[in-house]
Amino acid sequence: MTGEKIRVLLAKPGLDGHDRGAKVVAQALRDAGMEVIYTGLHQTIDQIINAAIQEDVDVIGLSVLSGAHMPLCAKLMRRLGEERLSHIMVVVGGVIPKGDIGKLKDMGIQGVFPGGTSFEESIRFLRENVR
């Protein structure tokens, strides 16, 4: 990074309505000097991809608490590949069992942040790994 602000799209894919975590992380990333766009609830994967293109973001952060993170992440990664957007970093947070972390990384998700991850850890990860 060359002094430009990191641009993050925080997205709530699917039907899950729990957005406390996403809104808290949005405020933390913003206080850390990043540009944060929050999609709001009930987004389809295509809506998220469109928003990522429109906003020209460096990172897509998915927040999933319903347990549907595996199919949702798989679909997002497939669609990003099809749209030739694989340069956008994808991270996911929410209720993620330990056993799924390896599988998510195998899909190409770069960072997995289960509930309880500190702001410091997520912020450091983005600063160190974006571009």
Partner: protein, 541 residues
């Protein structure tokens, strides 16, 4: 989560304690802290205005609290089995969890439902699913909470049709649909239609059930989820009351008398955090509500003045770290609930930070409540903390804090407007952030999280396995219903529903007809979307 902010001096002694609602706690309380205290005016005996000590004179001696664990998953068959299992272990009420497609009015074969069918609750497409889920359940003895909001009218009609089919008289059945859409817009996220028509649909169910199902509680106003989304305990009560007033004002405009429907309004409120702040919160809430109903709304029936509800141990207090500690937290939350004079108790189970509770975890929660009732003396005497200098003083201070927060909402133009503009959502998100920061900075303590952590050897939890085959079974059963139902009758009832919705008449009798014709949840929801449009979330940041 922890209860209060602790400020220590250089010797490590606790210098200051600030409760989440902003009240500063003194090291000791005495008569000087209650200079104007008047027993009759401020407390009254249990069962007497302003009901600070409880809404019934004998409370748990006469009627123990109802124990109602949240349950439901997969297909209606699996859910029916879990219901029977819980009832066999002494549970006295049901609380049905629905999957997300159902909560958002989508049929199980809708492309948007993929991966979610039966995941976080039971899947419902048609009346057939209700007939299966409630087979052999004594609906005249077991009351049922239905955790459903945007499509509560449809689900309530399914419950009614099921009861009719199994021969239970409508004046004997007691359903409690959550049916509180404003809190979904603030905190839980399962909304469909815009604010104004959503409130109208709630008005329809209130008006209808007062006439047709008099023991049904058509709305359970939820501070619970707003608190879980981050607000303070005082804000939780204030927002719940402002939401309740929005629904009440709407029904009054229809010319219905306050005492015809207010006795069946109930509340769903949250418990976690500091014991005394919580107990004081509920005591203060009861008297604010009683006075509001008597003075502002001119209720004459004292039942209209009762703050009745489910005061439940909240998931927000439980931790992913060292999950067995959550059993201990649950026991304290149950204690708070009993000390607070609840009518119904429920506890999040110790594994809920990970998964839908396993049967074992659900039973531990149920036993926790039973032990409290049977072994610990919580049944013996009403409001045992009443008269404590500390608790009475704190009750007064919580009353002030709640009233202040209510004023703020009223200055914004009332709850409907505040939600449409996103004011309340922003405030709740801000509080959630402040809390999380305080937790990460160690100002608020949480065992296993920011003190007494164990880096290694985190407990392995048995996860409730999501069964993808459940979706196939559910979709096959939906297709079977679609094939065998009377298609003309479905089309006619849906057309009638649309006509009535456009006219702005009470839709409930027409929803019931469509339900009985086995119209799907998705078909009925599409009619409403057509007529009302959809809610657009105000921009947050």
């Amino acid at each position: 989560m922890g209860g209060a902010t602790y400020i220590k001096n250089e010797r490590g002694e606790v210098e200051e304690v600030i409760l989440q609602s902003g009240v500063s706690v003194k090291p000791v309380y005495g008569p000087g802290d209650l200079p104007d205290f008047d027993y009759q005016r401020d407390l009254g005996n249990p069962g007497e205005f302003p009901f600070t000590r409880g809404i019934h004179p004998g409370m748990y001696r006469i009627r123990p609290w109802t124990m109602r664990q949240y349950s439901g998953f997969g297909t209606p068959y699996e859910t029916n089995e879990r219901f029977k299992f819980l009832i066999a272990h002494g549970q006295t009420g049901l609380n049905v969890a629905f999957d997300l497609p159902t909560q958002l009015g989508l049929d199980s074969d809708d492309p948007l439902a993929e991966g979610e069918v039966g995941r976080v609750g039971m899947a419902v497409d048609t009346l057939r699913d209700f007939e299966v889920a409630f087979a052999d359940i004594p609906l005249d003895r077991i009351g049922t909470g239905l955790t459903i909001n945007a499509v509560a009218n449809i689900i309530l009609a399914m419950y009614q049709a099921t009861a009719e089919k199994y021969g239970f008289p409508l004046d004997r059945i007691s359903a409690t649909p959550q049916n509180d859409i404003l809190k979904e817009m603030v905190g839980r996220g399962n909304w469909i239609f815009p604010v104004e028509p959503s409130i109208r649909l709630i008005g329809d169910t209130i008006e209808y059930s007062a006439r047709v199902m008099p023991r049904t509680n058509p709305v359970s106003i939820c501070g619970y989820h707003i608190r879980e989304s981050g607000c303070t305990p005082a804000q939780e009560i204030a927002y719940a009351f402002e939401i309740a007033m929005t629904y009440i004002d709407h029904v009054l405009q229809r010319g219905v008398d306050i005492d015809e429907f207010a006795p069946r309004l109930s509340f769903n409120l949250d418990i976690f955090g500091n014991i005394f702040e919580q107990v004081a919160k509920f005591r203060a809430a009861r008297r604010i509500w009683a006075r509001l109903m008597k003075e502002k709304y001119k209720a004459r029936n004292s039942r209209s003045m009762w703050l009745r509800g489910l005061f439940g141990g909240g998931g927000g207090g439980l931790t992913k770290e060292q999950p067995l500690n959550n059993i201990v937290r649950g026991a304290y939350y149950a204690l708070i609930s009993a000390l607070s004079g609840t009518q119904t108790m429920a506890l999040c189970s110790f594994d809920e930070a990970y998964t839908i509770p396993t049967p074992q975890a659900a039973i531990v929660s149920l036993r926790t409540m039973q032990i409290l009732l049977e072994e610990m003396g919580l049944r013996d005497t009403v409001d045992p903390l009443g008269g404590s200098y500390y608790v009475e003083s704190l009750t007064e201070q919580m009353e002030e804090k709640i009233t202040e927060e209510m004023k703020k909402v009223e200055e914004m133009g009332g709850m409907a407007h505040a939600v449409e503009m996103g004011y309340v959502q922003r405030e709740v998100a801000r509080q959630a952030y402040l809390y999380e920061k305080a937790l990460q900075e160690g100002k608020i303590h949480k065992v296993g999280v920011n003190i007494y952590r164990e880096e290694e050897g985190e407990e392995e939890i048995e996860l409730h396995a999501y069964n993808p085959a459940a979706a196939e079974v559910q979709i096959a059963s939906l297709n079977e219903v679609r094939k065998t139902r009377d298609k003309r009758k479905v089309a006619t009832t849906l057309r009638d529903l649309e006509r009535v919705a456009r006219k702005g008449e009470n839709v409930m009798p027409y929803v019931l007809e469509a339900v009985k014709a086995y119209a799907t949840l998705g078909e009925m929801t599409r009619v409403f979307k057509e007529v009302y449009g959809e809610f657009r979330e105000p921009s947050m940041f």
